[in-house]
């Protein structure tokens, strides 16, 4: 995620560089070790033909990468990874904005309502996924099946007919409170007099939102999108608990692909190669997306 660092240093800091370096050295070296050692190990393993169950590891050159890039699943996996980033991103930002505006105004019981809307964020991802799997989505005893039967519909088996949608719903449910929290805080720093002035000038609610509220929220939304992108790129627990990446490869994203190669097939070399590929994807997303977003900061 180094692409998020925005370089503000001008000539001034370059002049001071000589004196500052020795002071920075300890923390920088710790950071380097922290980052470089696992990275180098991953690169090393990615060049080995190493199945945990048939040691010793043998140098395999680029055979792991060759396998990886000719794997017909990889395009699907990359697509799923992106879907699992941008789907929940869109949903959480929109819902978060709606909740923030809604809960900003005064109404009776606001404290409790705010507490309730934040609560899902404190539920662990595995637990949340289990709750959704067994209490909501289950085709026999789930709440949604009950509602569907109420209207005379055939209950939907979510995890076999719409697995990706189901996972996106769960992830969005967990992260909407986070979006709400950040945007609600931002709403409270909105200058009330601006709204008042807009209202006096005859602006309706919709135009007040578009021209006053939304521009004010732009910056916190950038922060939100940045943070959520980082978290959504590594979505794993929700998939493990509900679909195990299936049916087929319908919900396998990059982290789950790596898990399945490393701990279901015990192919350390291939998993490491996939890990490096995941770093590449993360950096591409970071470069194009987060960089653009951080321009608003």
């Amino acid at each position: 995620m180094s692409a998020t660092v925005v370089n503000h240093s001008g000539a001034r800091s370059q002049k001071r560089g000589m004196k500052v370096w020795p002071l920075l050295l300890p923390s920088v070296s710790v950071l380097l070790v922290w980052m470089i050692v696992p990275l180098v190990m991953t690169i090393w393993y990615s060049l080995q033909n190493y199945n945990l169950q048939s040691p010793p590891a043998q140098f395999g050159g680029l055979s792991n990468f060759e396998y990886l890039f000719t794997d017909p699943d990889i395009p699907i996996v990359v697509w799923n990874t992106l879907l699992l980033v941008f789907g929940p991103l869109l949903i959480t930002v929109c819902l978060g904005m709606a909740f923030a505006v809604l809960y900003d105004g005064p109404f009776p019981g606001r404290g409790i309502a705010r507490l309730l809307v934040i609560t899902p964020f404190f539920v662990m991802p595995t637990v949340a996924a289990l709750v959704w799997k067994n209490l909501f989505f289950h085709p026999v005893w789930g709440l949604l099946a009950w509602v569907e039967k109420l209207f005379g519909m055939q209950p939907i088996d979510w995890f076999s007919s719409h697995p990706m949608v189901a996972v996106i719903i769960i992830v969005s449910w967990i992260w909407t409170p986070f979006a709400t929290l950040i945007l609600l805080t931002a709403m409270q720093s909105l200058d009330r007099e601006q709204i008042e002035a807009a209202r006096l000038d005859g602006a309706k609610a919709v135009s007040r939102f578009i021209h006053v509220v939304f521009p004010h929220l732009k910056r916190p939304i950038s922060v939100l999108v940045m943070l959520e992108t980082i978290f959504f790129l590594s979505t794993y627990a929700e998939i493990y608990v509900t679909t195990m990446g299936g049916p087929g490869t319908a919900t396998t994203n990059m982290p789950f692909y790596i898990f399945s190669r490393a701990l279901q097939g015990f192919d350390v070399g291939l998993a490491s190669a996939a890990g490096l590929f995941a770093i590449l994807i993360a950096n591409v997303v970071a470069y194009f997306f987060i960089k653009r977003m951080s321009e608003h900061l």
Partner: protein, 436 residues
């Protein structure tokens, strides 16, 4: 990577603390199956008798396999006793990761262990783990439904016959499905059964040069038959059904037939768990154009990692848990139907057990008939029945299982699924150096 480091760190901690105590704490990793839970319950008695302390780690099958494999392959040394299967034992024995069982104490009757099981848990004539229970596969059917329809299940049915029975007995309006069958993808789930179907339709998983044989005509016939059978006469959502789901369906009276593990017999025969306990019939697993390789052989067994420093104590515990005396104790205290089956000849000579369990002799027949070599219609380069006992198998069969599940749900055709799986298998085998 994260998991590996964690395992190493926790192993280091375990070692550091372990050595501070007297050397009589045994750490045991096991699977959360009912038989193992019973063993854990009665092991308190063993602790009392011997003064040895037992530390248990009970996990589900998948998690256990991940933990134990990473631990033993990275020489973590966390465990003194591990619960492994017929798949891991010869592979790990070959690697020298397990302590061999070359001698047993005199009163432990090792020759009583069923030869086919014993052989499967050996590498080059040496046993590397001791069976706790063993199973094969068989056909379960509802005698009442067969009688009502005027049908008779042969002792050795064919899949074609099973298909005809399923068609006649399928009564969706009454909530009874013609057949319950595994659909959940995974090498130990749908592939455990489909490997057998492939065999008896005349196929094999690998050609002699280790190229994949699952895109052959035989496999195509086998899987097309399976997809047709499961979709027409199976319950809805069959792709989500593994062993436990099917067990519940049959116990609730929702299926006329089911092909699965012989251990299910003990569970289905228990009136507390099953509504059909008095209506069950048992037959051998089906064959088709070829009459071998139609039933699997599986054993959950106990082994000692080479890294364990308490090998002698571990050996004593394993002998206790797999002894005739243990089986008799469980039979007397927990009921004869629930003893760990399939390991000893003496179990099947015990009149109490034979009286309580009418499925005992068909089980014995299935286990004795299951051989790991010479079981396919065409020559094959590997040892194993429904899967090849090689390290690469899990990755290959998980993929194949997923692809077939895709064909089952209609997302792809059988041919496309098998072609993709064969290509994937060839790639893996090439990378691993089998295909030159």
């Amino acid at each position: 990577m994260m998991k590996m480091t964690l395992a190493t760190v926790s192993a280091a901690i375990a070692l550091a603390f372990g050595s501070a105590h007297a050397a009589t704490t045994l750490t045991i990793a096991t699977v959360n199956n009912p038989d193992m839970v019973v063993m854990q319950k009665y092991s308190a008695q063993y602790e009392k008798e011997t003064g040895v302390q037992l530390k248990w780690l009970v996990l589900d099958e998948n998690t256990l396999r991940q933990r134990v494999t990473t631990d033993i392959a990275t020489k973590g040394g966390q465990f003194d006793i591990i619960t492994i299967g017929l798949y891991e034992t010869p592979i790990w024995g070959k690697q020298g990761w397990l302590q061999p069982f070359d001698k047993f104490s005199p009163k432990y009757d090792a020759d009583d262990i069923l030869p086919s099981v014993r052989e499967a848990l050996s590498y080059k004539g040496k046993m590397y783990s001791v069976p706790f229970y063993a199973e094969s596969s068989m056909t379960f059917y509802r005698k009442d439904l067969f009688e009502a329809a005027g049908l008779k299940m042969p002792d050795n049915p064919t899949w074609t016959q099973i298909g005809e029975f399923a068609k006649k007995l399928d009564n969706k309006a009454a909530g009874v499905h013609g057949i319950c069958i595994r659909g959940l993808p995974g090498w130990g789930e749908n592939m455990a059964l489909l490997g057998l179907v492939g065999n008896v339709f005349g196929g094999t998983q690998f050609n002699m040069d280790w190229t994949s044989a699952v895109n052959s005509k035989a496999w195509n016939n086998a899987i097309s038959f399976y997809v047709d059978l499961a979709n027409k006469y199976g319950p809805p959502g069959v792709v989500g059904n593994g062993f436990n789901e099917n067990l519940n369906l049959l116990a609730e009276g929702k299926c006329a037939m089911w092909n699965d593990a012989t251990v299910a017999a003990g569970l289905l025969f228990d009136p507390k768990r099953s509504k059909v306990s008095d209506k069950l019939g048992f037959a051998q697993n089906p064959v088709e154009t070829w009459n071998k390789g139609g039933s699997w052989l599986w054993a959950w067994s106990l082994g000692i990692p080479a890294s364990s420093k308490n090998g002698d104590e571990a050996r004593k515990f394993i002998e206790w848990a797999t002894s005739k005396e243990y089986i008799n104790m469980i039979g007397e205290k927990e009921g004869w139907v629930t003893i760990p089956p399939g390991t000893r000849k003496s179990t099947y000579e015990n009149p109490n057990y034979l009286k309580a369990a009418p499925f005992a002799l068909p089980t014995l027949k299935a286990i004795q008939g299951a051989t790991l070599v010479d079981n396919t219609a065409v020559p094959k380069p590997y040892v194993g029945i429904n899967f090849a006992i090689i390290p690469e198998m899990q990755a290959i069969n998980n993929y194949l299982g997923q692809q077939i599940a895709g064909a089952l749900t209609g997302k792809s055709t059988v041919k496309a699924a098998l072609d993709a799986s064969a290509a994937n298998s060839d790639k893996i085998m090439k990378k691993a150096g089998y295909i030159k």
